[in-house]
Structure formats: structure tokens, C-alpha cells
């Protein structure tokens, strides 16, 4: 099937208007020797056939595992309203809102999204979204490097390893010096961090809650970082901001994060949502689109893409970033999600996650041989030490219908027996108890 409306008559008339006899003549500029050597694509299929093929494939994926895996990407409930609004094709079939007068819906929605990101993080300005939490962190790091004119980055190893690996990949052709700070008892080691902090440091990068789910108050670190004229950057889990101390309250200059938890399906890794908020003085270093409010010729409020001289389509190789397409539709989902929940709903959601994780900790600690790490406070994710290799437990639990957590040995040396367990609001008390019972039987 295809979606071409042309009748034979249309094609003929149009060719005539151009002054050509055949479609082939339209392609006469392509030299014969450059014509495809092959084009072995299967024949087309009907909508029904394709739908069937892909429905069958979707059933080869797990659809009923009870999920305790997080590691930065969480199984949260998505209210129907979010899907309903994001399915409006007036939103999803529009392009980037270059032409303000016929894009006020999108522009206002992004302005509201930017406001929500500022309200969650406490910071002054936000952009219209980035690809994901990892690329957002990279962009934040580059802001610090440009702003300070320095090239040393202190990176806490409590930052998701996926993101740390991305930072290394992106900078492999640039001269940036990284220092990784070890984690002690689940928390960032102040002693090590302060030892490396100097006036060559462009930024210190931390994560809250960190990869182990541990929450921290980094106010002391940020204070020290600022003494050396460096920037403090944090990667945050937005759902936790319904409860946790904000990046602004700790003094951070830039906050980034993965917005997937705000009404965006897990969808096997994307599309997700990178968000970024920063202090006012960094606004002209921000990457990507930014929407601003202004007025029309009759004084009515309206919205436009603004501060565009930062961007690649104008500044080209001197732009603050190469980003063009972002994740606007995911940003819309996040805006609808947070607007629907409101402040009380978001607090309730955070509270829900915290309490259920605490309940799971309590239950798990009763299993002989299982040690729940309790030296530091956590939000909705925590580590347990198992009496055997975590991979073995993970495999046996999958057979019992549970994705029971993320084995830390995959990312950290010497942690083969550790499991990182996430408990979101979707996990019921009954599921948690079943989970604990099953775990007992596989150890």
C-alpha cells in the first residue's frame, strides 16, 4: 500500500505542465552508472498484514513480568489523559514551531513545560527539551566548559554508568580531563572530591538520588565547588522532586535529568525526554530551542522561539549545540502529566514511591541471608546483598514472573552479589509480598 493520492490522469496533467513525457525524465540528472545496483526490498503489505506481523512480534516480548527494575528508567503509571492529549494530531503531526502565528498551541505548551521544569528544580530557566538524560548531562557539561574556559570535570561514580559512558564517548576527540570520585557507603565521598577540586575544575557532576537510589544533600559540596569558581551540575529523577530537596535549594547551577518518569512509556529505551534547567546567568549558553513570551502588534500575549542566535541554524559551527530536533512530544506528555497531578498529586506520587520502597526493604530484610543496605537514606530504589551471584537470582526470578532488579555487578567491579531494586507506585503491597516470597524460594 502507499499513501499517494494521484490518479493516472493527475500524473499525466502534472507531467504536461512541467513539459515532460514520463516520470523517468524527472530523474535524468542521476547518471546511469549511479542507478541502484540492487533494491531488494520485499513487496508491500496491507495495513492489516503489517499490523498482524507486528502484533505477533509484540507478543514475543514480555508483557506480564512484574517489574522491580529501575536503574534510571522507571515503570510508572500513565494516566489516560496523557495519551489522549499526546494523540491529538494537531500536536503530533506539526513540525518545530518556526511560524509562531500558526503554532501558538505548541509554543504555549512548551512555555508551560519550561515553567514546570523550573518549578520542579527550583532553577530559573529551562529549554524546550533535549534527547534524553544522558545527552542533557553532556550538554550541561559543555556549558560549564564554555562558561569557565576550563576543561577538568569531576564526575561522581554515583552518576548512572550509562551516562558516564556517554560523556566519555562524546568527549573522546576533545581534550577534557575527567576525575571519577568513588562512592563510599552509597554516598559521594566528600574527602576524595575535595582533594581533586581546584581552579582548573570546570564542573562537578553529581546525581540525586544517585545510581544506588541513595538521597543526599549536596549543599556542602556545591558551596566548596563555587569557592573554586567551578559549576555544580546535578542529574535528577524528576518524580523524586515531589519530595526531595531541589537542585536550587542545594545551590546547583544546572540540573538535568531523564523525564521518562513523567508520563512517558518505557518503550524499550525511547523516545525519552532530556530536561535541563539552569540559573539565569547561563541562559545564553543553553543548548536547543527556547520559547519566550512576548506581545503582538496589538499588545496581546503570544509565544515565540527565542534567543535563536545560540542555535545551529544561525550560528552554525559556533552554535552552543548541534541539536535541531528535540523531544517536544515527550515534553508535552510531561507537561500534561504534571499539570494533571498538580503539586499535591506529585507529592503523593513521590510519597507513594518512598513508602512502598521502605515497605519492600522491611520485608526483604526478613529473608535470612539477604542484607538490605540501610546506612544511607533512599528514595524508591535501594541495594540488597544476596548470598549468591545476583545474575543467578535474576534469571530464576524471571522464570517466576518477576524482573527482580538490576544486578550491580554489570556496572561495578566486586558487586556481583548486589541487586538494585526499584519500587514504584505501581507495585501493590500484594505484589511486593509475592516478590519477597518468590525470592525466598530461589535463594
Amino acid at each position: 500500500m502507499n499513501f499517494i493520492p494521484h490518479t493516472q490522469e493527475d500524473t499525466k496533467e502534472m507531467l504536461q505542465a512541467i513539459g515532460l513525457k514520463s516520470i523517468d525524465e524527472l530523474f535524468k540528472d542521476i547518471p546511469v552508472e549511479l542507478r541502484p545496483k540492487s533494491f531488494n526490498i520485499p513487496d508491500g503489505k496491507s495495513e492489516f498484514e503489517v499490523t498482524q506481523v507486528l502484533h505477533k512480534l509484540s507478543l514475543k516480548n514480555a508483557t506480564c513480568l512484574i517489574n522491580f527494575v529501575g536503574a534510571g528508567f522507571y515503570d510508572h503509571f500513565i494516566p489516560a489523559v496523557v495519551d489522549a492529549i499526546a494523540s491529538r494530531s494537531e500536536f503530533y503531526t506539526a513540525y518545530t514551531p518556526y511560524q509562531a502565528e500558526c503554532s501558538q498551541g505548541w509554543l504555549q505548551a512548551i512555555y508551560e513545560y519550561q515553567t514546570i521544569v523550573c518549578q520542579l528544580t527550583g532553577l530559573d530557566v529551562s529549554n524546550a527539551s533535549l534527547y534524553d538524560g544522558g545527552t542533557a548531562l553532556f550538554e550541561a557539561m559543555m556549558i560549564a566548559i564554555r562558561q569557565t574556559g576550563r576543561n577538568k570535570i569531576i564526575l561522581d561514580s554515583g552518576v548512572n554508568l550509562i551516562y558516564r559512558t556517554m560523556l566519555y564517548t562524546y568527549t573522546s576527540n576533545l581534550s577534557i580531563e575527567f576525575v571519577e570520585i568513588p562512592v563510599a557507603h552509597g554516598q559521594s565521598s566528600r574527602k576524595d572530591l575535595f582533594k581533586h577540586l581546584d581552579n582548573k575544575t570546570a564542573a562537578v557532576i553529581l546525581q540525586n538520588p544517585n545510581f544506588f537510589g541513595v538521597v543526599d544533600d549536596y549543599s556542602d559540596v556545591v558551596k566548596e565547588v563555587h569557592k573554586f569558581g567551578a559549576l555544580a551540575i546535578t542529574s535528577v529523577y524528576p518524580v523524586s522532586l515531589g519530595m526531595l530537596k531541589t537542585p536550587q535549594e542545594m545551590g546547583f547551577d544546572i540540573a538535568t535529568g531523564e523525564g521518562q518518569s513523567l508520563g512517558i512509556p518505557l518503550s524499550f529505551g525511547g523516545p525519552y525526554l532530556g530536561f535541563m534547567a539552569a540559573k539565569n546567568e547561563l541562559v545564553r549558553q543553553m543548548p536547543g530551542r527556547i520559547v519566550g513570551a512576548t506581545v503582538d502588534s496589538e499588545g496581546r500575549r503570544g509565544f515565540v522561539l527565542t534567543l535563536q542566535t545560540r542555535e545551529q541554524h544561525i550560528r552554525r559551527e559556533r552554535a552552543t549545540s548541534n541539536i535541531c530536533s528535540n523531544e517536544a512530544l515527550c515534553a508535552l506528555r510531561a507537561a500534561v502529566f504534571v499539570s494533571l497531578l498538580g503539586r499535591d498529586g506529585l507529592t503523593e506520587l513521590a510519597e507513594h514511591n518512598y513508602r512502598k520502597a521502605e515497605f519492600a526493604k522491611e520485608q526483604l530484610s526478613r529473608i535470612p541471608g539477604v542484607e538490605v543496605k540501610r546506612s544511607s537514606a533512599t528514595f524508591n530504589e535501594f541495594t540488597v546483598l544476596l548470598p549468591c551471584h545476583a545474575d543467578r537470582v535474576v534469571q530464576r526470578m524471571i522464570e517466576k514472573g518477576f524482573a527482580c532488579g538490576f544486578p550491580l555487578g554489570r556496572f561495578y567491579k566486586g558487586m556481583d552479589n548486589y541487586l538494585l531494586i526499584a519500587v514504584t507506585e505501581k507495585r501493590t503491597k500484594e505484589e511486593i509480598c509475592m516478590f519477597v516470597d518468590s525470592l525466598k524460594t530461589v535463594l
Binding site: I41, D75, T96, G122, T169, N326, A328, L329, V394
Partner: protein
């Protein structure tokens, strides 16, 4: 329209989780808790739904208006692909599942989609392998330039420059710069092609790569493209294909057959996934044999038993460029689209896209200046210089088109064309909708000559008139702030 924050009313709730029945827990120590209040709106569910539904109605979109935005390939986004992306097996799958022992077997459907899409894209572009990870076109470019850097480094070569033509997308030089290269810009000669003499002069063994769009951003297929590629290869530089304009090439010419070494594709253009008001897109990168070993990890492989798995074991890989396997939901829609169209459908898409663009060009060329008067490919580029003499600029033409119910073409790009109007109708627009657009363009040309004020006043039929962009940039107001 009021902002959603201005509709707030204390005491309203739009959603509740029902916390009452939940287990009690010792509260988190105060020092970790936020003390400032997030000013988020309190609204009913209907308030929220009505707010965003009414906002949606203030947009032009592909489903409501003709959208000939040049270089963006705004073709129809089939609805069945949206439904497929919502199948629970796809939408609810945790990306870490295949990385767990015993989890790979429960992710076979999604891994197969990635594997099969990669195969199809290889055949469409004549590349040896693809990474599906890049999350947008520009992200694909950055990935490509990082692959180029890894390739030269592996050979022990230090190369400093990336060449782009002056007609290129801004993302090309920006991507090259972010990956650590200096940019050399080659001018376009009077015939609309890259100036070969200057290109020859700039080309040397310090050049890492040449980034080109083909057909180029003027909508023209450069018959010298093979020669350009051969010249680059002669000095050991790689050829990078910006896939923004691939729609014109489907089944007609493949980048790999020309001699391109790397390709990024914009699935949200050529392969009909919706652009979502700015994103998400997807920008898979294909490479020729000599670059395969540098591709990002993980890669999806088929094992001897026919099952699919993730392989991380590539010593020379550049590493991670995305957290997982790309914008899977977008890739899935593109896969469904390619399966539906098949070989003939894809070729037909290219043919009709080119037919529609040439038809626009033929019908409008006596009314607007055509900077390069030759057969175009998927888009045609006019210059409003004639109209500008009467004070009617490309921007004014765009605004008048909005009043007439058409999304304007791309304006002021490529930068080398004064008063550029870049029209890309795509293959899914009917002759009737294109004719209506042509009529509006002819009307504007007439008004520009007779009564330019009427054009300059536009839009007058929209909820707002032209906005003060200078004020927006001088006094940035980037978020709503609570009154007290």
C-alpha cells in the same frame, strides 16, 4: 489563552493515587526534603483536557493543513503505525530487560524489529551496517563525525578539518565542531553546484571528511557527485551523506553506490514518522564496511539458533551514544511504514515527491525568481527578490500564506539564496491541495505588485498578529512566575 497556571484553584485535584491504604513508613529525614513549594496548577481532569485540547487547535499540523516546509519532508504520517507503537509488548518493555540473564528471550520481538529495520536500511542506502541508536538527525551527524574521528585515529592519522558546502544545514558544521573539528566552507558556484575548483584547493590530507546532502539543499542532484566522492577518497577523506533529502532517492540512487562512507537518515522525514512538534525523531547511521568496527555498542546480532541478542564485544567501538537502542518507538513506526510500502511503494514515493515539486516549480516560475533554473528533485527553491523590491519579503509571504490556511514553506534557507522560499510538497499531497497552494502564491505575487500593504499586514485571520521577536530576545520571559 490563559496559561494553565492561571487556571489554578486551590483545592482542585485532577488525579489521585489513593494513598490512604498504603503502608506507613518512617519519614525521610528533613534535611533531604524540599522546603520550597513547587507552584504547579491544581485543576480538575476536565480543566486539563480542555486546556490542552484547545491549545492543540491553535496549531497548523499536517493533519489539518498543507505543510510544504522545505527540507522537512512533511509527508502523511499513517495512523496504523501509531497503533502498533502502542502495543503493550512494545510500549511497556523495560530497556534493561535484554541485559539481564534470562531477559533476552523475553525481548525477542523488539530485538527483531531493530535487526530487520537495520537490514532494510542497509539495502535502501547500500551501506554495510547501521546503528539505530542516534536519537535525531543532528545526533546522527554527531555520531557519524565521531565515527570518522575514530577511523582516522585508528589509522594513526591526525586530521583537523571537515568540509561542508555553504548551502549545508547548520547542523553539519555544528556537529563537526562539537566533535572537535574545524570547518572549511566551500562556496556554491553560479550553476548551483559546489565550486569544484575551490573544493580541489581546500582538499588535502588534513581533511577528515566531506559532509554533503544529496540531492543538495537547493533541491538539485549534482551530476558531479561521484567525482566529488572520488576526489575526497583520493586524499583519504571520508564521504558523509546527510540523509535529510533521501526521499527523492528511494530506489533511484543509493548513497553507498555513489561512494558515500557514512549515511544518517531522518526516519521522521523519509520514513513518515510524525515530527511531534519538534521531536522525537530518529537518526540511524549507516556505514560502509571499513567503519563497521567503530559503530556504537550495543549492536543487535542474530545467533546461530535464529534468536537475537545484544553484542557489546567490539573492541574499537566508539562507545555509548544513547542510553539504549535508539528511539525504539520511532524506529518501530518506520519499520511498519517500510513493510507496508514495500519496494514499489518506496520508489513510487520518490517519483511522486519529485513530480509534485517540479509541478510547483513549473507553475510558479513565471511569478517568482528561480535562482537555479533546472529540473529539481523533491523540493524547489524560489527567491522573493522580485517581490522584495516592493517591500514584500519572504517573511511577509509566509505570513500571508498562514492567513490562507497553508503552512508556509521554509524561508531564508539555504542561506545562500536571498529571500529563499523552499517548497517541499511531498508525495502524499494531492494535485488539488497543491493547486490551491499555487493559486495562493500567485495571488501573493499579484498583491506584491499591486497592493503590497495587504501582504505585509498578514496574518489577520489568526488569534494573534505578528509577534515582537526583538522584545522576546531582549527581555527574555521564559517561564511563568507565581505572583507573590
Amino acid at each position: 489563552m490563559k496559561l494553565i497556571f492561571e487556571k489554578h484553584k486551590d483545592g482542585r485535584r485532577g488525579f489521585s493515587y489513593g494513598l490512604a491504604s498504603e503502608p506507613e513508613a518512617k519519614p525521610l529525614p528533613k534535611k533531604y526534603c524540599r522546603t520550597t513549594v513547587a507552584s504547579l496548577p491544581a485543576l480538575s481532569e476536565l480543566d486539563v483536557v480542555r486546556h490542552y485540547t484547545n491549545l492543540s487547535r491553535l496549531n497548523f499540523s499536517l493533519d489539518t493543513n498543507f505543510y510544504p516546509l522545505g527540507s522537512c519532508t512533511m509527508k502523511y504520517n499513517p495512523k496504523f503505525t501509531e497503533r502498533i507503537a502502542c502495543f503493550e509488548g512494545f510500549s511497556q518493555l523495560h530497556p534493561l530487560l535484554p541485559q539481564l540473564s534470562g531477559g533476552g528471550i523475553l525481548s525477542q520481538g523488539s530485538l527483531e524489529v531493530l535487526f530487520e529495520t537495520e537490514k532494510l536500511l542497509c539495502e535502501i542506502t547500500a551501506m554495510s551496517a547501521f546503528t539505530m541508536q542516534p536519537l535525531a538527525g543532528a545526533h546522527g551527524e554527531l555520531t557519524g563525525v565521531m565515527l570518522i574521528a575514530a577511523y582516522h585515529k585508528d589509522k594513526g592519522l591526525k586530521r583537523k578539518y571537515v568540509i561542508v558546502p555553504d548551502s549545508s544545514h547548520g547542523t553539519n558544521p555544528a556537529s563537526a565542531a562539537i566533535a572537535g573539528y574545524q570547518v572549511k566552507v566551500i562556496a556554491t558556484s553560479a550553476d548551483g553546484y559546489m565550486d569544484l575548483e575551490e573544493y580541489q584547493k581546500q582538499l588535502n590530507d588534513e581533511v577528515a571528511a566531506v559532509m554533503l546532502t544529496c540531492p543538495d539543499t537547493l533541491g538539485i542532484f549534482n551530476p558531479q557527485i561521484k567525482k566529488i566522492a572520488d576526489m575526497a577518497h583520493k586524499v583519504g577523506a571520508l564521504m558523509y551523506y546527510d540523509g535529510a533529502n533521501l526521499n527523492a532517492m528511494l530506489g533511484k540512487c543509493r548513497p553507498g553506490d555513489i561512494g558515500f562512507d557514512l549515511v544518517h537518515l531522518n526516519l521522521h522525514k523519509t520514513f513518515a514518522t510524525p515530527h511531534g512538534g519538534g521531536g522525537p525523531g530518529a537518526g540511524p547511521v549507516g556505514v560502509s564496511e571499513k567503519l563497521v568496527e567503530f559503530l556504537p555498542i550495543s549492536r543487535v546480532v542474530m545467533r546461530s539458533d535464529g534468536t537475537y541478542a545484544l553484542n557489546y564485544n567490539y573492541r574499537k567501538s566508539i562507545g555509548y551514544i544513547a542510553p539504549f537502542y535508539g528511539n525504539f518507538g520511532v524506529i518501530l513506526k518506520a519499520y511498519a511504514y517500510i513493510l507496508a510500502l514495500g519496494k514499489e511503494g518506496l520508489i513510487n514515493a520518490a517519483e511522486i515527491a519529485v513530480l509534485n515539486a517540479n509541478y510547483c516549480q513549473a507553475k510558479l516560475k513565471s511569478y517568482y525568481d528561480l535562482p537555479f533554473d533546472k529540473n529539481c528533485m523533491h523540493e524547489c527553491i524560489f527567491s522573493a527578490t522580485r517581490q522584495a523590491k516592493n517591500g514584500v519579503h519572504a517573511l511577509d509571504i509566509a505570513k500571508y500564506l498562514i492567513d490562507k490556511g497553508f503552512h508556509p514553506p521554509t524561508i531564508y534557507f539555504p542561506l545562500i539564496v536571498q529571500e529563499a522560499l523552499m517548497i517541499e510538497p511531498t508525495e502524499t499531497e494531492s494535485k488539488e491541495s497543491i493547486d490551491a497552494f499555487i493559486d495562493a502564491m500567485i495571488e501573493i505575487a499579484r498583491l506584491a505588485a499591486e497592493n503590497p500593504f495587504l501582504v505585509k499586514e498578514a496574518p489577520i485571520n489568526m488569534p494573534i498578529k505578528r509577534l515582537d521577536e526583538v522584545r522576546a530576545a531582549r527581555k527574555p520571559d521564559l517561564c511563568w512566575k507565581p505572583q507573590n
